[in-house]
Every structure is written in C-alpha cells, then in structure tokens.
Subunit: 324 residues, 2 copies
C-alpha cells in the first residue's frame, strides 16, 4: 500500500503536467491558475488509494483522479463567484483577477475537461464510471444550491443539514473512492461499500469541522475560532441550538443572529455560552460518532485483506482526530 502523502505528491505532479490549449488564453489560463493554487489534493489521492487497495495499477487511475480534481476546482471557481469571495487559498480568485464572465466560462470548460479526463478509462468501465461521476457532479450542485438557500432560512432542520453536507461534501469523496475501487478491480458490491465508507466519513468530517470551529484549538485548527458563529453559518451546532433553545436562550440567540454591528469576540463568547448550556457539543459529537460508526461498519463489510482495511481505518482515525 502506498502512503497517502505519496499519492498526494503523484497527483500534484500530474496536475502540473495537464496541458490545456494556449488559445483562447483567457479561457484556459484561469484553469491553470486555479489548479496551481494547490490544496491537499485529497479527493484525487483517495481515488488512487482506492485503486491501490484493490491491487489495481495506479497509473491507470491518474486521469480519472485528475478529473475529480479538475471537477472540484470547477466547483470552487463557480462557488467563488456565487459567494463573491475575493480570495481562494490566500490568492486572488479567478473572477477578481480576470472578471466574472471569465470565471463563468472557464468554469464551464473545466467541467467539460473533467469529463474528458474521466473518459480515459478502459471501455468496460466507461459507462459505470461516468454514471458515478454524473451522480457526484449533480449531488455537488444540489448541495451548493441547498447551502445557498440555508443562508436565508432560519428554520433549517438537522436532517436537511445532514443531507446538504452529504451532497456538498461527502458524495464526491464517496464517488472518488468508488471510481478508484472499480479501476482497481473491485466488484460493484465492494465499490459501493467503499463509497458508503467515504460518504459517511465525509459527513463525520464535516461535523467535526463544525465542532472545531467553536471548540478547536486555534493554533492546531488553523482557522479563526468562532468564524461560523460570527457569520451566522448554519452549522450542526447552530441548527441544533435553534431547535433546543427556549425562552431567554432562544431570545438571546435570535438577538445575536439579528445583530448587524457587534464585537466579534463578544458574540462568539455569548453564543458559545448558549451552546454550552444546551450541551450542543455533546449532540454534535454523538452525531459525528454515528456517522463514524456507519463508516467503519461499511469498511468492515468490504472484502479486503485485514491489513488493507486497517490502512483505511488508520486513515479515518487520522482524519477525524485532527485535534480538538
């Protein structure tokens, strides 16, 4: 089994070598630019890992892995326009560096380039792999749409939230693993189980992210603690708190959400205090545990040698105990 870090390096080098046409420059330069901004290349590395797990040839999985990375960056390019984001990984976003039309159109062509890369598989896998890719891509779009709708709603339910993060974040992990597994020679049953493992793990990971935003060690977490609270982001924690808060707590929470001008530290402290009173962290950790358990349950059922399953187990542990 290759180490995940080694797979990430393989992907990074392959990303640098993707050749796009020179003309028209404003269509293709933004693609090279956003891909050059880096990132952990986690999704494509997982695709290679899945191929490797089932004893497949990693080289054969590189183009589809690149497809997943190109697709992911297409969603970032369009999401940045929709979110009006000035920065991506500390660098100017495409629509700011060029303009919005360039961001829309380069993104469009990236999605097509993703399909072209994904088609570089053997004929017998072409249809099943494209079916997975289609479902993944549609899921991500649906997730982004639902996420945008959540911004203007205060009645989001926990189930809706879990479905949104599944679509927006988790299906692409499941899809990448499933495609890699099929290339590696897995049968459809094992590929589905591995996909479930990835999807559940993705949900658990997002729930952990929600928890760490409030309760993480800022030095290890690498983000501003309370960022979600400051921006009223509908996380598991806020949705659960809105569901449970009564009387004065409910009034206080609504007050902080409605407030346009506030001291950030004060808001974070006040909302965290409400979370603490309602024991929101426990609920969130329980939910996270449920999805972690589901992930490991799927993993256990896969027909793979124990040491390969242990590899995935260790990977999941590393991901989920990033720190807290």
């Amino acid at each position: 089994m290759k180490k995940l870090e080694d797979l990430q390096v393989i992907i990074s080098e392959a990303v640098d070598k993707i050749g796009f046409p020179q003309y028209p420059a404003e269509l293709y330069e933004p693609i090279s630019y956003i891909l050059s901004l880096g990132g952990k290349r986690m999704r494509p590395a997982l695709l290679l890992m899945a191929c490797d797990l089932f004893g497949g040839d990693i080289d054969a999985a590189i183009p589809p892995a690149l497809a997943i990375e190109v697709f992911h960056n297409f969603t970032l390019m369009h999401d940045d326009i929709m979110d009006n984001a000035p920065l991506r990984r500390g660098r100017t976003t495409v629509h700011e560096k060029w303009n919005q039309n360039v961001g829309i159109l380069s993104g469009d062509v990236m999605l097509i380039e993703g399909y072209k890369l994904m088609m570089q598989v053997e004929d017998r896998l072409l249809r099943p792999i494209l079916d997975i890719f289609n479902n993944t891509a549609v899921g991500v779009c649906e997730g982004q749409q639902v996420d945008m709708e959540f911004e203007v709603r205060n009645d989001v339910k926990i189930d809706e939230y879990l479905n949104m993060i599944r679509l927006k974040t988790a299906v692409v992990l499941g899809g990448a693993l499933k495609i890699g597994a099929l290339i590696g020679g897995a049968d459809i049953k094992d590929a589905d189980l591995l996909s479930n493992f990835g999807e559940y793990l993705g949900i658990a990971f997002q729930l952990q992210d929600d928890i760490l935003d409030v309760y993480g060690d800022p030095e290890k977490f690498g983000k501003q603690v309370g960022g979600d609270i400051i921006s009223n982001k509908k996380t598991y924690l806020l949705i659960k708190a809105l569901e449970l808060a009564k009387d004065k707590q409910a009034a206080d929470l609504s007050h902080w959400i409605a407030l346009k001008q506030f001291d950030q530290a004060e808001k974070v402290e006040a909302v965290t205090a409400i979370y603490n009173q309602l024991e929101i962290r426990n609920y969130a950790e329980e939910a996270m545990q449920i999805y972690t358990d589901k992930a490991f349950e799927a993993l256990d059922a896969i027909n793979l040698p124990e040491e390969h399953k242990q590899y995935l187990h260790d990977f999941a542990d590393g991901l989920l105990v990033r720190e807290n």
Copy 2:
C-alpha cells in the same frame, strides 16, 4: 424521410416530457423554464434527421437529440448572464427572473444533465459520441470566449472571425449531424462528411445573417435592420470594411464606431453607405458562396442514395435563401 417540421414537433414533445427532480426547486425550475421558452429546436431536429438519413431508428436518437438541446440552452443561460441580457425569446432571462447565482448553478447542472442524456446510446457508440460531444462543447465555449474578446478589439481579422463563428455556431450543427449519423448506422467517413456539411453550412448561414442584418427585408427578416451596425457588432461586413476602408472612409467609419450618442437611423444609413462604396456585400456574398460550395462538396461525397442527398440539398437551400 421524415420532414424536418415533423422532427421538430417530435423534439418539442420530447422536451416537454423531460423530467427533472423537484428538489431543490431553484436548481431545476430554471431548467424547465428556459426549455419551455421554445425555439426552433433546429439542432436536435438535425440530429434526428441525420439518423433518419442513414436509415436509423429515430427513437434511439431522441435522448442524444435532447442532450444537444439541453446543452444549447445551458449555453444560452450562461451567455445571458455574461451578456447581461434581460430577455430571451421575449421572456425574462433566468438570472433576471431568479438571480445570477441561480443562473450559474442551474446552467452547471444542465451541462451535466446534457451528458446524462447523451449517454443514453448503445455501448459501442458511447465513447465516439461522447468524444464528439466533448469537442462540440469545448468549441462552443471557445467561440463564446473569442466573441467576447472581439467586443473590445478593433483589429479582428477575417480569418479570426470565420474561426469564431465556426466555433460558436457551426461546430454544434456539425456535431449534432455527426452524432445522429453514427446512431443511424453511418460509417465514420460518412459521418465526418455530414459533419463537415453541417459546419460549412453553419458558417454560410451566419454570414447570411450578417448580410441580412444590413440588407434584409425587415418584414421577412424579423429583426431590426442595422442592429449590428448600431451596436458595432464585429460582423463579417464591419471587419471587412475596417480592413478595406482608407482615408476619409476609414475616418468616417471610426467616427461612427466611436460615437456614443447618435441617431440610430442616421448611423445605419451612413455605415451602410460606406459598405456600399466598398462593395462589402459582394465580399460577404462571395465568402458565403465559398462555404456553401464547401458544404455541397462534402454532401456530394457522402455515400447515400441520391434522393437523400437531395433532401439535404433542399434543406440547405431553404436555410440559405430564407430571403434577402
């Protein structure tokens, strides 16, 4: 051979029957909306026609034909955002009726839905047809990018212009015909020839459109005569005039292009007068004739019964002598 009008009706009915998910509504409603705005359904009808020409089963060609129509409407949805267009076929554009983010994201999912429909072909055709679709889709994006760049350039060359209209308008006609031909049972050589026929015809048709905008009978043409002149659109006529005009003519032309405030009728009259002095219409008609000849040359070489070729010949004649 089925009549083109009958094929258009078949497509219109099939478009009405495409079922998209209900949730999230803001993602899928705009797709049904833009598809409901109508249009001539020419591209998908041509795909069916190509299938019919080679004796294929039209029913098998309907999903790919719908894919072409969904793809075309995806490009319209995104182009309308880029062009800041308030109306499409006399109705509010998607980004105006909902908002820009909805237009971007619904367009993205339409492109994916296009792939899903295009994949509804038999296995042996899946890869060749998707290759054609990819090339078509990339071409349209490249054409749109180049067209946007032309808006801010005054040094566009005729060859660049012909390449732009090929990419933006003609490749999708060629692609639709080629896909239909393959489904109909054509060999790759005949499919390529039919594709060339469509591409050359598309270029000739666009050149005719440029000519009719200035010299067409407004009642028959159905658009405001001189619209391109008023908006300084880089058509074959304007580019050729900029190339040929010398001294006072060149100065006059530049003057009218630079003018921000003007009487529309006066500008149309003045620029048309320059076109007339330079005999621009002759040049444009010659170019149109060259591409028409190329189209018929490709048609002649196709291995089809004479009456089927005559059908295509009549179709082309109908398209190109719309009126002038």
